[in-house]
Amino acid sequence: MNRLWWTQVKAVIRLELKKTFFAKRGLWIYAVAALPVLLFIAYAVVTSNQQHRSARIAREGEKPLSYQDLLAVKPGMTKDQVVATLGRPPLDIHWTERRPTGPGAFDEIQHERFQYSDGQNDLFVEFVGDKVEGANVQDAYNLGEDAIVFAGVFQFFFLRLAIFFGCLGVFMNLFRGEVLDRSLHFYFLSPVRREVLMAGKFLAGLLATCTIFVTSEILQTLAFLWHFSPRARDLYLYHHHGLEHAAAYVGVTILACIGYGAFFLVAGMLFRNPIIPAAVILIWEGINPFLPALLKQFSVIYYLKSLCPVEIPVSPGTPGLFALLISNADPVSSPLAIIGILVVAFVALAVSSFQVKRMEINYTTE
């Protein structure tokens, strides 16, 4: 790219960024990007409250308990045995159940629930009469499980919906929006090669979507880690690949913006109604796991799934089709996945480049 073209690309980016970031019709993209952040913030707030409650219960207990103490309670133990092991419960709820035994006759069954905590994990002991009927330990938080939840939200909401529709909103409007506004001639009357204009618009869209969605991704990670103790955070980030995972998610977000951006840029030039290409691409991406190996390669999600750092485990008993959606049966290596997305994007941009040269200003037919 020669110096003049680069200067022109920068001029296009400056104009487009202003329009993209401050366009009223693009406000919903911020809302979509903020949704998973709000979800993780809400989750963090609820979990944090639970932690405070657990800590309070632990403080109010007769003696400090360990996680092993909580596991010591087994069904069939008597109330006295439980109290002897864990002390008097800080929280004790009891109620009476009237169970009918015949016409007008009832048995009164005494229920009681003790709650203990080691400060982080809670134990719920259910008594029927004097015997332990059930003892459930509820882990206050589990970074491993939460990381899988995070991966699920990332793959099934953030990638497939938020970034997908966000890119649709930004990239399809780069040319299409200006045709509808009847202002595209402003660019077409300037001494700029159409391909340079397209490159500038694409880079502006990419900068805008990357800024919005990478910020969202970083905020999601912060919200996700917020309620963990500093020690647990350090352990996760520096000893359990947490930092690598966070970087990988940012990388996948950027690649998703490149891939979907290129797709929607060309779609915005070829179609008048954005709903049609959006639906086609959404369906194509959705049925990707069921496609033959060769066809899979012509989609963005195929490569993105292979790059996601945390694989979502398929629980036993999950229906076959759903399991196929969750699992990545045919993954490609990371370098190949990155090259794959870049090639798909390059092909889409080459088509855009051809298309933009053929574009005419004829607003009356729109």
């Binding site: 400056r14 329009k19 009847r182 001639h185 700029v192 607003y363």
Partner: protein, 312 residues
């Protein structure tokens, strides 16, 4: 030819609708007006000239540059369109400045040049206001500033005087004339024919997508043989003058003006008529003025296309 705007057998169809058909033109420097009613193909011709639409057939070159080469074309071409839409949220200054920045010049030079262009169209006071708040005339002027900003050799102006008040019209016309005098190519479309008449060096008359005539207006008029030339003469003895003129075979019709001091004549040979008139003037009839009455664009257009299509 690298010193002309060339159309070679150019046709443009919008689906089945004709834009222009089989246009062959060679436009020299100076002010050239495109004249024709709505739908005659004026804007299509301008859009073709600037590459905004592609010809269905034929070839167009602007001073040797193909219209599908915007990088070079718009270094020498400025186009003020009729599209009344602008990029959102820009002030008048930002509009011109952004346009200049797109050409790759430095920010300082773009700023200086933008202010110069804004000054040329007298819009300095409104330059920092959003274009969305501009009046129609101000939007017209800012479009003109965009077309003029980079001092192009070829100025293409689609209805440039629309929405302008008389003073602004006069200023703009002076601007176009100055550009043409400096050797520029100024292509203007207008439906206000008397203004076209005043400013044009040559005209291109269009009807239903076809070029029906082109050239200097007098030349075009002289070529229309089936309509006699009309001449208005102000003199002291119009009846006597009419009688003497009818002695010649090329006079067709004469009518006395109602104030009794003028004569409207129709002749089929203007050159011989003027020779005879000189002779009569020497023989004592006092002639105050002689003016052609139908070598304006309106008359020529009426003769060529017919009354029903004339745009006044």
């Amino acid at each position: 030819m690298n010193d002309r705007i060339i159309f070679e057998d150019v046709s443009k169809f919008y689906g089945e609708i004709l834009g222009v058909n089989r246009v062959n033109l060679s436009i020299p420097p100076g002010i050239t007006s495109l004249v024709g009613p709505n739908g005659s193909g004026k804007t299509t011709l301008m859009n073709l000239m600037t590459g905004l639409v592609k010809p269905s057939r034929g070839r167009i070159q602007v001073l040797g540059i193909n219209t599908d080469d915007p990088e070079n074309l718009f270094k020498i071409v400025g186009y003020s369109t009729q599209f009344d839409a602008f990029p959102r949220g820009l002030t008048g200054f930002q509009f011109i400045y952004s346009y200049l920045c797109l050409s790759g010049i430095s920010a300082q030079e773009a700023e200086r040049t933008a202010w110069e262009a804004i000054q040329r169209v007298n819009l300095v006071d409104a330059a920092s206001r959003k274009i969305g708040a501009y009046s129609k005339g101000m939007r017209q002027r800012i479009r003109l500033a965009q077309a003029l900003a980079h001092n192009p050799k070829v100025l293409v102006l689609d209805e440039p005087l629309n929405g302008l008040d008389p003073l602004a019209r006069a200023e703009m016309i002076a601007l176009f004339r100055a550009s043409a005098a400096a050797g520029s190519y100024v292509i203007i479309s207008s439906h206000i024919l008397h203004e076209v008449d005043v400013i044009s060096d040559q005209v291109i008359l269009l009807s239903n997508g076809y070029v029906v005539a082109e050239g200097q207006i007098q030349t075009v008029r002289n070529e229309i043989q089936e309509h006699p030339t009309q001449i208005l003469i102000r003199c002291d003895r119009p009846r006597e003058l009419a009688a003497k003129l009818f002695e010649s075979e090329y006079m067709i019709e004469a009518s006395i003006h109602k104030d009794g001091r003028g004569l409207l004549l129709k002749t089929k040979d203007a050159d011989r008529f003027y020779l005879t008139l000189n002779h009569l003037a020497l023989n004592g009839i006092q002639i105050e003025s002689i003016a052609p009455a139908d070598d304006d664009v309106l008359s020529v257009y009426e003769y060529l296309i017919g009354n029903e299509e004339v745009v006044r």
